[in-house]
């Protein structure tokens, strides 16, 4: 698929912008701070309903404005669709598909698919586990949008369960001073309520975990290949899933197994039993997909803490390129590939190899502060971005 048109109103630094796009490669060039990333951030937002830079929506709305609007015309298999998003910080966002308003913005997911690589992706390698969980979940949703609902349900259940653990702490806590005069019925009710939330969390949590594991299994071959190509055979990129479930299952998962969902659900229940006391003590849920991690390895060493800057950068890039390949083979159409500022950090060889790897994608949007950083082999149209003005360079 490719974007034919992008239109912004009060998004980031743009009071308004109209950008006519084509399949193939398009490069946005401009000095620092001129609005290149803002432009591709909008593309990513239309696809995934979140920004790769901020977790809140407020910074996306131009300072002084009330709402931002992104419109995108996307062409897939010769058919064009119009997506419109209204970003209203503090209130519900709104989405339209063609002429129809959607009940939930979430229903727009899947219309535009992108894979976006940005400097922030270095955090995939060097950052907290939450960065890697987000990578997996976003890819899961890009692949099958219905996971957005499960993901959001999981967060809601988790919040409820944590609230319960906190409020029930005095009742559930063993060896508390009031233990002798503790009302046994009150304890029973608390345990019973906890059971209900355990059931909910295990149900949604196991399905999410199962989906992540299958996703990873499908992704790994592409990752190894992508890293190998970018680095010209300078190391084997590997990833293993670190589960917060009890040891037996966690070991099995780390070994690359994908247990049945039923087994995962049972393992979650068993793990809840094991950590009950700690959970009650701390008032937080210690088991579940929200505590898991993806351990990245380069050769025999963990990437985090060992890989060089360029290697880390290439690893992050490898993850995104693998995602691109996976979606390409899954969807039967290419997602829009966005490369924000990727070339500046790579050595000459890696630049050329990357350019060669993405050259056949249906649409690639590239940004660069220095035009010369983009390999000449990645020919395409050039837009100049200056103070919120986007203008096409004559061919």
């Amino acid at each position: 698929m490719f974007l034919r048109h992008l239109s912004l109103v009060d998004f980031r630094s743009y009071p308004s912008a109209e950008v006519e796009l084509e399949p193939g490669i398009t490069t946005f060039v401009g000095l620092n701070g001129q609005g290149k990333t803002n432009l591709v951030e909008a593309v990513g937002y239309v696809a995934g309903l979140s920004s790769h830079r901020v977790s809140q929506d407020a910074p996306l709305v131009r300072a002084g404005a009330q709402q931002a609007i992104i419109r995108a015309a996307v062409v897939r298999d010769g058919r064009e669709q119009l997506v419109e998003l209204e970003i209203n910080p503090g209130r519900a966002n709104r989405a339209r598909l063609g002429r129809s308003p959607l009940t939930r913005p979430r229903d727009v997911l899947g219309t535009v698919r992108t894979v976006l690589f940005a400097p922030e992706d270095l955090a995939l390698v060097k950052g907290d586990p939450s960065e890697r969980r987000r990578f997996l979940d976003e890819l899961l949703i890009a692949r099958q949008p219905r996971w957005a609902a499960a993901r959001s349900d999981y967060d809601k259940i988790l919040k409820q369960r944590n609230a319960l653990l906190k409020s029930a702490m005095p009742v559930l806590r063993k060896g508390s001073r009031r233990r002798t005069d503790r009302d046994p019925e009150e304890l029973e009710r608390a345990l019973h309520t906890l059971d209900v939330w355990n059931g909910h969390l295990a149900e949604v949590g196991s399905s999410l975990l199962y989906a992540r594991l299958r996703l990873l299994r499908d992704l790994l071959p592409y990752l190894a290949k992508a890293y190998d190509e970018v680095s010209a055979g300078r190391g084997a990129a590997q990833a293993t899933y670190r589960s917060s479930l009890h040891e037996e299952v966690a070991t099995q998962i780390a070994g690359g197994d994908v247990p049945e969902q039923d087994a995962l659900r049972q393992a979650m229940h068993a793990s809840f039993e094991q950590v009950r006391e700690q959970e009650v003590e701390r008032g937080v849920t210690l088991v579940g997909p929200h505590r898991d991690d993806l351990v990245l390895q380069l050769g025999d060493l963990p990437a985090k803490g060992y890989a060089s800057h360029g290697e880390s950068w290439s690893f992050a890039l490898g993850l995104r390129l693998a995602a691109f390949q996976l979606l390409r083979s899954d969807l039967g159409t290419d997602p829009v590939l966005v490369l924000d500022d990727v070339f500046a950090e790579l050595d000459a060889g890696r630049r050329e190899r990357l350019a060669a790897m993405v050259g056949d994608a249906e649409q690639v949007l590239v940004t660069a502060a220095v035009a010369d950083d983009v390999p000449a082999t990645l020919t395409g149209r050039t837009f100049h971005v200056t103070l919120g003005e986007v203008s096409r360079e004559p061919d």
């Binding site: 349900d153 259940i157 019973h192």
Partner: protein
Amino acid sequence: MVQDLIDELGRLPGIGPKSAQRIAFHLLQADPADVQRLTEVLTVVREKVRFCETCFNVAEAEQCRICLDPRREATQICVVEDPKDVIALERTREFRGRYHVLGGAISPIDGVGPDDLRITELMRRLADGAVEEIILATNPNLTGEATAAYLARLLSTMGLRVTRLASGLPVGGDLEYADEVTLGRAFEGRRLLDA
């Protein structure tokens, strides 16, 4: 004074500042007799309407219309979150039994636990063994499901038929927003829970 009216109206559920303003100016221009009737109804409602001592539905006497109606089956109790849900289910005309209004759903985030709902009162109603079926008609959203799961377990040892509305209702929504046909169908197709 007009602003006071707008402010009061704006505090009602579902009414934003703009609607509040529109309603306020509508009232100012309306026939005094119309406004008088509205004031009277409000006063009467406030004075007369209370909650049924048996099922906690809205009532005009100690018991509500449904609990007082001898034609309604005493063997079935439909458990709902709010009086609004009673109205929604009554519109479907599917149900000929009695209700029990919990007064909310289990939601730890909002500090609502089983003790804050009228669950003890429900258990008391079951003590004489006259009830044969409990229909759990809490909302098809997270807290409604949690409440249903909690009750299902609590009731599992009592030798009752415990059923839950069929799926097919808009997930994550409230019963009150489901149309009659969908809700009626969900009611008819309710499934037995084996907690």
